[in-house]
Symmetry: C2
Subunit: 239 residues, 2 copies
């Protein structure tokens, strides 16, 4: 729902920074805080190959990296987003602030919370001219529904992430208002699928998007979805 | 999508077994295999309180357990579902069978793959007369979208699980065909929400359900959804 907002904004900031040739820390205030703090933690970009990636995922990744060479496509970096927001900010809507303080210190982005290969392995590429994204996704063994297949919630999660990114780059800070998903065929666990998202229309603060999930050879249509996203005012509170 | 099928069937078997007063292992062939194997692994029922449960979740749990006393409601047990299906069965649609064999050996139910308190903490209660379920859900820090709030995919996952269970108990083995979710307000991380699901209509193999996600005091409507599920023939392959 709201995943796309800050993560996408940070990705966008990083991307714009890269285009403008400035240093990663200068582009991104969160990065900067970490890079120049005493902790010296350099965030890992998870949208890059690791040993858990299958041959299919690596081949597709290489194909899209080639498409990036002429600037028509861009690979979007992806971080765990260990935000620095203070837990005191959340006190107003939590009853047990001590418990919440402990728990929020462990908070991490849902789609990047697993060890390599166990959960969501994905990379998103963006085409600015066509206002569309392609997400290459390999769902690991911790995302199981019935034996051997992905949980519908894991598919919905990846659709939300991919469509949300396609909305957030042109739209800025956005929030998912509606997701309508048709699950047509079950997706085998540990296989690779391609999620194509497209910005169809903007009406005021509303962004209308559509999406399909296909096999690598494009022959199998696993899912289709539409998404409605709303542009938010970054100065206003979310609740 | 497909999560509800086998898990729900096993839950249903266990539930029916309980009603009939037979032993847990005799009710459920998967349990039986494990209980009487040399491994001697007793599956843990995750739909019971653990130290990560907040006061809100414990209070609601106790309230519903009281409602169970007259038999109008039943608590549904929930397991990690470490299925015994052979990885050889998956060879036909996986390119790299060695990799898949390794990965499938780690497979676990998406909603039960986290340590206590970090991911999905939930329990589902079922009312057979009214054909509805109530799911009490506390989303942990690993389910974060924007800072302090649940990821939309995590909400979609829990809706799929709750609505799917409401479909699977009367419907047998079912598959999610459509989920249409309106996200109305963001859900604070580590808070407790109540997911009410209702079977509205059955037409042939189609089951139509609706669902809402509310705060514990029912004052805040976080999300609304509809779900369409299809009854499957257990003898037929899923792909």
């Amino acid at each position: 729902m709201l995943r796309s907002c800050t993560a996408a904004l940070r990705t966008l900031q990083a991307l714009r920074g890269r285009r403008e040739g400035v240093s990663p820390a200068a582009r991104d205030p969160v990065l900067a805080r970490r890079w120049f703090s005493t902790e010296k933690v350099i965030p890992k970009d998870h949208a890059l190959p690791n040993p858990s990636w299958s041959k299919d995922l690596r081949l597709l990744f290489d194909q899209f990296m080639k498409k990036c060479e002429d600037g028509s496509w861009e690979r979007l970096p992806s971080y765990k987003s260990k935000y620095t927001q203070k837990s005191e900010d959340f006190k107003t809507y939590f009853l047990d602030s001590k418990l919440v303080k402990e728990q929020l210190s462990q908070a991490q982005l849902f789609t990047r919370g697993y060890e390599d290969g166990l959960g969501f392995e994905y990379v998103i590429f963006y085409n600015d001219d066509e206002k569309r994204t392609v997400c290459l996704f390999q769902g690991g063994p911790y995302l199981q529904g019935v034996p051997g297949f992905l949980h519908g919630g894991a598919i919905a999660t990846m659709i939300d992430a991919a469509v949300g990114m396609c909305a957030a780059i042109p739209g800025g800070i956005v929030m998912t208002a509606n997701l309508n998903i048709n699950f047509k065929r079950p997706i085998p666990l540990c296989s690779v699928v391609v999620i194509n998202s497209q910005l169809d229309k903007i009406e005021g603060r509303k962004l209308f998007l559509s999406c399909n999930v296909r096999s690598v050879d494009e022959k199998i249509l696993y899912s289709e979805a539409t998404g409605l996203f709303i542009k938010l005012d970054p100065e206003k509170s979310l609740i």
